[in-house]
């Protein structure tokens, strides 16, 4: 296994310039995340969890400090390079699923493949990944609005996995699910970790955090334990 960190945050700060004054969401965060770790990020509301996830998902760039993913300095990458890294290296699973409402379950999973290969999936990979997360084939043609929360989250996981990313970012993936379904989703994520994925999970729920092998606690934008 590679000894270099897969993700490295070096003195990363994120400051939002608001009308009421500057707000520091991340305050000099230093963090190394190795390949094939299962990490839970915890902390109270406003502690900076979502901001950290946005940084890790390169939806945003640090105000100061350096963020390296696979050794590449995110701040030095072009917009297109970041987009391609989001597409190829990072799988994002959201609390609210965020499936594309105009596409069917199958098309939602196929979509990242189309982005990457610029053509429709003829290999059957999208269907295979959907099956691997326990999604019923018969529901593939359904639109997200016709699926339950658990089914939508399975589709969202399949979509995040279909391009075989190294990193899975899960922002409260069970937050909108009942207990039983939430645990099923966590079993899937635990299985993915066992397959070699690096899983980073934001949660408020200590029971969910127990699935992780390392917990990072944030408070007021600072890492208080990792």
């Amino acid at each position: 296994m590679n000894e270099d960190p897969l993700i490295q945050l070096s003195d990363v700060s994120k400051v939002y310039h608001l009308e009421s004054g500057d707000f520091t969401a991340l305050d000099h965060v230093c963090l190394d995340i190795m390949e094939n770790e299962f990490i839970a990020i915890m902390g109270p509301s406003g502690s900076g969890k979502s901001t950290l996830m946005n940084q890790l998902g390169i939806l945003d760039v640090p105000s100061s400090g350096r963020l390296y993913i696979e050794g590449k300095d995110v701040a030095r990458m072009s917009g297109l390079e970041r987009t391609h890294m989001r597409r190829d290296t990072i799988g994002y699973i959201f609390q609210k699923f965020y499936l594309i409402p105009l596409l069917s379950a199958y098309e939602n999973v196929e979509y990242p493949l189309i982005l990457k290969y610029k053509q429709r999936d003829k290999s059957g990979k999208a269907a295979a990944v959907l099956r691997s997360v326990g999604f019923d084939d018969a529901l593939s043609a359904h639109r997200p609005s016709q699926l339950s929360g658990g089914q939508q989250q399975r589709v969202a996981i399949a979509r995040a996995l279909v391009n075989d990313p190294k990193i899975l970012l899960c922002d409260e993936p069970t937050g909108n699910l009942d207990r039983k379904t939430g645990l099923q989703i966590m079993e899937i994520l635990a299985g993915l970790y066992k397959e070699g994925k690096t899983v980073i999970l934001v949660t408020h729920d200590p029971k969910i955090a127990e699935y992780a092998h390392r917990t990072i606690e944030l408070e007021d934008g600072r890492v208080i334990s990792s």
């Binding site: 998902g57 939806l59 391609h84 965020y98 105009l102 982005l115």
Partner: protein, 398 residues
Amino acid sequence: MRDIFFELSVRSVRLNFLRSLLASIGIVIGVVAISSMGMLGANMQLSVKEQLSSSVNTVIITPDVVRTEPGAGGTTTQQQGIDKSELNDIRNAAGLNEVIPIHRTSSQFTVGSTNGRGSIYGFDPNDIPKFLTVEQGDTIRGPSDAIVGASVASNFNLQIGTRIKIGPPNTVDRPTVRVSGILPTRGFTSDGINTDNAIIVSDTWYTDHYGDKDLYDQVNVILQNVDTISTVESAIDTKLNKNRNQVVRISDASSRLTSISQTLGTITSFILAIGGISLVVAAVSIFNVMMMSVNERIQEIGILLSIGTEKGEVRRMFLYEAFILGIIGAIVGGICSLTIGYSVVSAMIGNTAYFFLPDSIIYVPYGMIIGIVVCILSGLYPAWRASNLDPIDALRNE
């Protein structure tokens, strides 16, 4: 299988079908306006050109408006018309081409108890078959025979043999002519002889009653070969308009045709511009619909951007949507243009003979292309805005 972004655009249009339909109706109206107005203008031009080109081989010589000649003792006299020696000069310059001297005036006349007014033309009866075709009856044979134009014949219900008194109604001993022939409708012609509202008599009858023998109001030269038009015109000009003294004016159908075509072209451009205004209104409507589409789909755009969709791909998706609205509007507008345009041309010109000619029908694809281009241009800013949304802010948008 279709491009996923095109598929997303199609589904978005379907999802907001009514709104999209209303926006497309704006384009339909714009396309119909541009196409119909263009076809109307083209049909006008084609119709006039056809009428004028029938006498394109004719050179028209008219006296300069008022010609002033120095008289004896320093006084001046005015002479209006082309005299015999000038006619001979024209004949010499024209060579083997036909030269038609024309007398012309305007006069009142009476048919039965009905009074009217029209042009009176005096021609050598031998010249008449060279440029006129009698539809009913015969050409001028006797000294009092006359040929009448189609409008005069129909307005006064003239038959062969009907007698017409020429001159103001209160005049005693008015001369009378007998209708020997009726001409077909000639419309607006470019040989300067507008016969529809005219009575044509022999030159002898004309000069007996109006005088001015050997003084002509117009002389037409009918060319055997239309390619010699500039040579003949130049020869006549050299012979008659000597020493910078403008004696006659020389014109021909081609210059009139050009001038009329230019005028009609200007009119066509003007009415096209009026049609274009409706497309501007449609463009605003499309812009509005596209902005609504972007605003309603902000979160969806956030999802697309956050999972690795390129900005260009997001732009493409919205431009496809604008294109779909445009293509729907253009196709429906194109079909409507054919029916509405046909009705407009039929009502305004009264003749649809030229409607399906390429010069006319080309305005349908023109209108459609302009409609589509307007839609795409209207979608540029909304597409640009969508692609430049911040994915984090967009995802938070509910």
